[in-house]
């Protein structure tokens, strides 16, 4: 029988995991840093300065914070024809469901004490699929043709790219023979990182991550030269800010999953470690650094590629990516049969 005090401490630690590290606050800080970095890197490629004038001494690093403040104090306007409940609720829920997979993503061995679950991969990947529903609701509730077309595009693309995502994850599950991140990381520690074991699955997962988070060249649902601002055409104020930040949060989630499944998790550090520092923070920082590198590479694509047309992206999903993911599954089966 557990005592009451350890239970409370356990609950507080759970909450801190969700809210502070690696949950909401770290995610938001990373999003702010990432947006700044994205703009700075793109500016470097494009022969300009990027954000500069806010906090000039540190190279405009506070620009994203200034943007956040600006969004926070802007007036919120809901159009007359909009479905107001859905219009107000959907962005928040979208943001919440983009964050929620973090519950099931361990960033260190201490996690198994906080959330004893054996199905973390399954839950986290399943939760990722909830967010598009709210994107579609956003487009529908706005009462704007551009938003509506944006949400239709999102629906089409989600259907086209979800199966490859699951197949690429499944192909890793076949190798690791588990539905839990912890043994998966242990397996990679003992053998090889997943990206070497099955590079095709890694590529498919990255493409799906680019697609789901609306990075270039799949910036299709908010293609500004076609759909003004896509889903969030009618939004203002903090709601617009949420709409802008949500893809980045999801990018964070995808990158965490990628670094756990394909990059060996907190690999240079020992797999078994106890205590809050050695078991959560240090491995967590390693995982976050890895996923931050992945995020930076993905946002850099905007400097190179324009956007695909929606039908081309859908066709690529059904005609190329899905076969790639099936090949990834076959590779995994062969590896599982022959080698291990």
């Amino acid at each position: 029988m557990m005592g009451l005090l350890p239970l409370i401490i356990w609950l507080i630690q759970d909450l801190l995991y969700l809210i502070v590290f690696p949950g909401l606050i770290v995610a938001l800080i990373l999003v702010i840093v990432l947006i700044y970095l994205e703009r700075k890197i793109a500016a470097k490629v494009q022969m300009r300065f990027g954000p500069l004038y806010v906090s000039r001494k540190i190279g405009g690093a506070l620009q994203s914070v200034a943007d956040l403040l600006r969004f926070s104090f802007q007036e919120f306007i809901a159009p007359n024809g909009s479905d107001s409940l859905a219009f107000i609720m959907a962005p928040g829920l979208m943001f919440a469901f983009a964050l929620m997979p973090l519950i099931f993503i361990p960033v260190g061995p201490y996690y198994s004490y906080l959330f004893p679950s054996a199905l973390t991969i399954l839950f986290s990947v399943a939760l990722i699929t909830v967010r598009p529903i709210y994107e579609i609701i956003v487009g529908w509730a706005s009462d704007n043709k551009f938003s509506f077309i944006g949400s239709l595009r999102e629906a089409f693309l989600v259907i086209s790219y979800e199966i490859p995502m699951f197949l690429s994850v499944i192909s890793m599950l076949i190798i690791y023979r588990t539905l839990n991140y912890m043994p998966a990381v242990a397996f990679q520690e003992a053998h090889l990182p997943g990206i070497i074991l099955n590079p095709i699955a890694a590529i498919v997962f990255l493409i799906v991550a680019i697609r789901s988070t609306g990075r270039f060249p799949f910036d299709i649902t908010e293609a500004d030269s076609e759909l003004v601002m896509g889903l969030f055409t009618e939004y203002t104020a903090l709601f617009f800010g949420i709409g802008m930040a949500t893809p980045y949060v999801e990018l964070y989630v995808f990158s965490l999953i990628f670094s756990l499944l394909f990059l060996g998790g907190w690999s240079p550090l020992p797999y078994h470690a106890t205590g809050l520092i050695a078991g959560l923070f240090l491995p967590g920082i390693v995982v976050i650094i890895k996923s931050f590198i992945v995020m930076t590479v993905l946002v850099f694509l905007r400097a190179v590629y324009p956007r695909y047309r929606v039908d081309q992206a859908i066709r690529a999903g059904w005609e190329r990516i899905i076969y790639l993911s099936i090949i990834a599954v076959i590779i995994s089966i062969l590896e599982a049969m022959v080698i291990w």
Binding site: A42, V45, Q46, M47, R48, K145, F146, I149, F216, P217, D219, I220, A223, D224, S225, E226, V228, R302, A303, V304, Y305, P306, R307, Y308, R309, V310, D311, Q312
Partner: protein, 405 residues
């Protein structure tokens, strides 16, 4: 009394059966339109009809010019075609010179060609940049607008102003080529040649760009002629027509250059042809700089009317400069009419001037290339997807203020 079955507001929203189109207002406050509105009807994702609503930036240039002295129309026509000022200026001055029966000296002709080709490069870079942002490539947008800068600096060195240079005046040009211009121009041209390779890598050979533009907005030879399209868009459809070759003006008669031509007439060809034309412009500028004859930069008939102070200024430092003579304000061409054609960056400018011997033009009429390329937007986009609209619009390099005049 029967009960009303529907709320009135609901009835208004019911569409008759078979009506499955959505009408979209692309513009005037839309990132994918210029200062214009495209009414687009889509069936699903396919465009069924496009109606271009132009005139948002109509600036009555003809009306204004008919109520001013002849010389004062130069800034007006320039401001209509901001990315392409020299050509507007040149076309108007050519028409005016025909009225006045002045012939510019050879050096002035070469200087005009030089300014026009520098301007063509900036104009094409402008078009490439806008096309880039329409397809979502912010890099090409920034690069193109950044690379306009050295050429605009050259223009500033040559003409004294960055954009609205009012460089060409009846009978010649205002300034001679300054010292050190040749070297700087050569540096800039070499830089641009290097940059064109970069544009090839990130823009013309980008797989996403190819996917977006190949076989999009196809206009074959006959249709292009039928639509009355001009300029690079016409040549991308395989029609070998360039006003610089068809009726040479300025110094183009003496210069050896090719008119690039494509076969397919899709958006990708229209993209490539602009890069090719920049190459040809570089070639022309090199020849102009090499072959430029010595001599006056203003026609003798005008030079002889300059007063002694002006003549002294003209000769100072061995660098010719025409002080703007006041009698330009009093130009009264004999009653006649004239026509001038100039190949601008976006196509052919057509100018018609009619004088009845008065201080002001009796009729001032010009047709700009963007106006002639308008059918591209209304005619060619039909049958393609909504997402192709920016690709078609961007590839045409349509500039609304120029079309509205």
């Amino acid at each position: 009394m029967s009960e009303r079955l529907y709320d009135i507001s609901e009835v208004a929203n019911i569409q008759p059966e078979g009506e499955r189109e959505i009408e979209l207002q692309v513009g005037p406050a839309h990132p994918g339109s210029g200062h214009m509105r495209l009414k687009v009807w889509v069936d699903g994702d396919i465009i069924t009809k496009v109606d271009a609503d132009i005139g948002f930036v109509h600036r009555t240039s003809e009306w204004l010019s008919e109520r001013r002295q002849y010389i004062k129309a130069i800034p007006i026509v320039e401001r209509i075609m901001l990315p392409d000022t020299v050509h507007a200026n040149l076309a108007y001055v050519l028409a005016l010179e025909k009225l006045l029966k002045i012939e510019p000296p050879p050096r002035a002709n070469y200087l005009r060609t030089l300014a026009a080709e520098l301007n063509r490069i900036t104009s094409h870079l402008y078009g490439i940049g806008i096309f880039g942002i329409f397809l979502g490539s912010s890099t090409v947008y920034m690069w193109a607008f950044g690379d306009r800068e050295p050429f605009i600096d050259l223009m500033e060195m040559l003409t004294g102003a960055r954009i609205t240079n009012s460089y060409i005046i009846p009978g010649g040009v205002r300034w001679d080529m300054p010292k050190g211009f040749r070297e700087r121009a050569e540096t800039t041209l070499q830089y641009m040649e290097k940059r064109l390779e970069d544009y090839n890598d990130i823009w013309a050979k980008n797989p996403v760009v190819e996917a977006r533009t190949v076989n999009v907005g196809v206009v074959d030879k006959n249709r292009a002629i039928k639509l009355g399209v001009v300029g690079p868009n016409l040549r991308a459809s395989g029609v070998d027509y360039d006003t610089r070759k068809a009726s040479p003006y300025a110094a183009y008669k003496d210069i050896d250059f090719d008119v690039p031509k494509m076969d397919h007439g899709d958006a990708y060809d229209r993209l490539l042809i602009r890069i090719e034309e920049i190459r040809q412009s570089i070639r022309i500028i090199r020849q102009v700089l090499k072959d430029m004859p010595d001599g006056k930069i203003i026609a003798d008939s005008i030079y002889s009317q300059l007063n002694p102070v002006m003549k002294k200024v003209y000769e100072t430092d061995g660098w010719h400069r025409v002080m703007f003579p006041a009698f330009f304000n009093q130009i009264r061409p004999p009653p006649s009419e004239s026509v001038a054609r100039v190949e601008a960056g976006r196509g052919e400018i057509f100018f018609y001037l009619k004088s009845n011997g008065d201080k002001y033009p009796y009729r001032f009429r010009w047709v700009t290339p963007s106006f002639r390329n308008l059918p591209f937007l209304t005619d060619v986009a039909v049958g393609y997807r909504l997402a192709d609209l920016p690709a078609i619009y961007g590839s045409v390099d349509y500039f609304p203020p120029e079309a509205d005049r």
